[in-house]
Structures are given as C-alpha cells and as structure tokens.
Symmetry: C2
Subunit: 119 residues, 2 copies
C-alpha cells in the first residue's frame, strides 16, 4: 500500500468539506468520543466490553454506557450479555451501523478524491 500524501493545508480543506457536508446533511452528530467508540467496535477485533472500551479510550465507564445507550438507540450497535460472565456485556455490530460507516467511508474517500485534484 502506497503512503498517502496529504499536506496539512489539504488536510484542513478535506476536514472542512466533510464537516460542512455532515452539517448540511443533518447527519446524526456523534461527538468525538462516540465516533472513537463506534470505530473501535467496527475496526478492531471483538469482543468489546464496556470495561475494555473504557480502558482503551481512557474514559470512565459511564461515558461508555451512555454512548452505548445513545448509539444502540440509533441502532448503530447492539448490547449482548456475555454467556461466560454474566456481569459483562458484549457490544456487537449491526447492519445499520455497517451501512452508516460504509457511507462515512465513502464520503471521506470521495471528498479526498475531489480534494487533491484542482476541482
């Protein structure tokens, strides 16, 4: 895989266009912690528990609980009891969450493509 050349100035323009698009589209505005949690769940190997996520992001457990409340209500992910240890829960992906992140990836990718050229 070739390194991606993205000078700081272009990076900010890219960020700007993506932020602008998200605002104009009125897409659900997850805060930065929720985004980090969601992407960790989808991009890193399972299982994901509240405790693991809290430790990985260096946030308190209630932050994870509340983020899971919000995002599971949006159907972006799903809680499941852990069969082996009933104190734990396991966070799982959903179809809706997969679609949401696919769209996000496409948006970033497409914006980056338009960004580099002189358009």
């Amino acid at each position: 895989m070739a390194p991606i050349e993205l000078p700081p100035g272009d990076a900010l323009k890219l960020w700007h266009q993506i932020a602008l698009r998200q605002v104009l589209d009125e897409s659900p505005d997850l805060n930065i912690r929720q985004i980090a949690i969601l992407l960790t769940i989808y991009l890193e190997p399972p299982p994901h528990t509240v405790r693991d996520l809290a430790r990985k992001l260096k946030v308190t457990k209630p932050v994870i609980t509340r983020a899971l409340d919000t995002m599971s209500h949006m159907k972006l992910l799903e809680r499941r009891p852990d069969e082996r240890d009933r104190r734990s829960i396991v966070v799982r992906r959903t179809v809706e969450g997969t679609l949401y992140l696919e769209k996000l990836g496409d948006l970033i990718s497409h914006t980056a493509r338009g960004q580099g050229s002189n358009g």
Copy 2:
C-alpha cells in the same frame, strides 16, 4: 496537484486513529457544527458575519451565536464590530485559533502518512 487516493476502508482507519488521538489527548471537543464554523472562518475569504455563517451552514442564528461564544471564550476566534454597519459583527481569526488548526492539519496529515504505509 495529484488526486488523493484514499479508499473507503483506509478512510475509516484514518478517521478512527484521528478520533482516538483526539480523545486520548483530551483536546477540546468541538462538535461538528463548531468545526464547520471554525474552518469556514479560517479557510474562506472574510468578512464573516453571523448571518453569513448561518446561511452558509443552513443553521439558525442562535447556533452561530452560541458557537462564537464558546469558541471566542476558547480564544479560537474573535468578535469585532463592523465599522460600516454597527448592527453587524465580523468574526476574525486569532493566533490561538491559527495554532489550533495548524496542529489539527498536522495531526491529520501525519496520521494519513502513517496510514497508507505499513507503519
């Protein structure tokens, strides 16, 4: 300028790493609207008034007013009365805001560079 090739999968990994870094660094978490406002002010030609920003982002004026309150308190930008029309204010850049966005651009750029290569 060459087009930037950033496949959706890599885009999500990039997003993940940047979000993770922002959370771990406890950087001030501006919401998506505030980011869009800030970058518009810094990347598009002045002058920037509340009304212009509200129209450009298709949000209500109080959204802009509150975002300016928050970000001017963080010294990321500055309100100034418009000399020509005293009903208007003009939003201006600050040194701190410039530094903040320079750091953000560097973070994105650096993360993207590490993203594409196998590092």
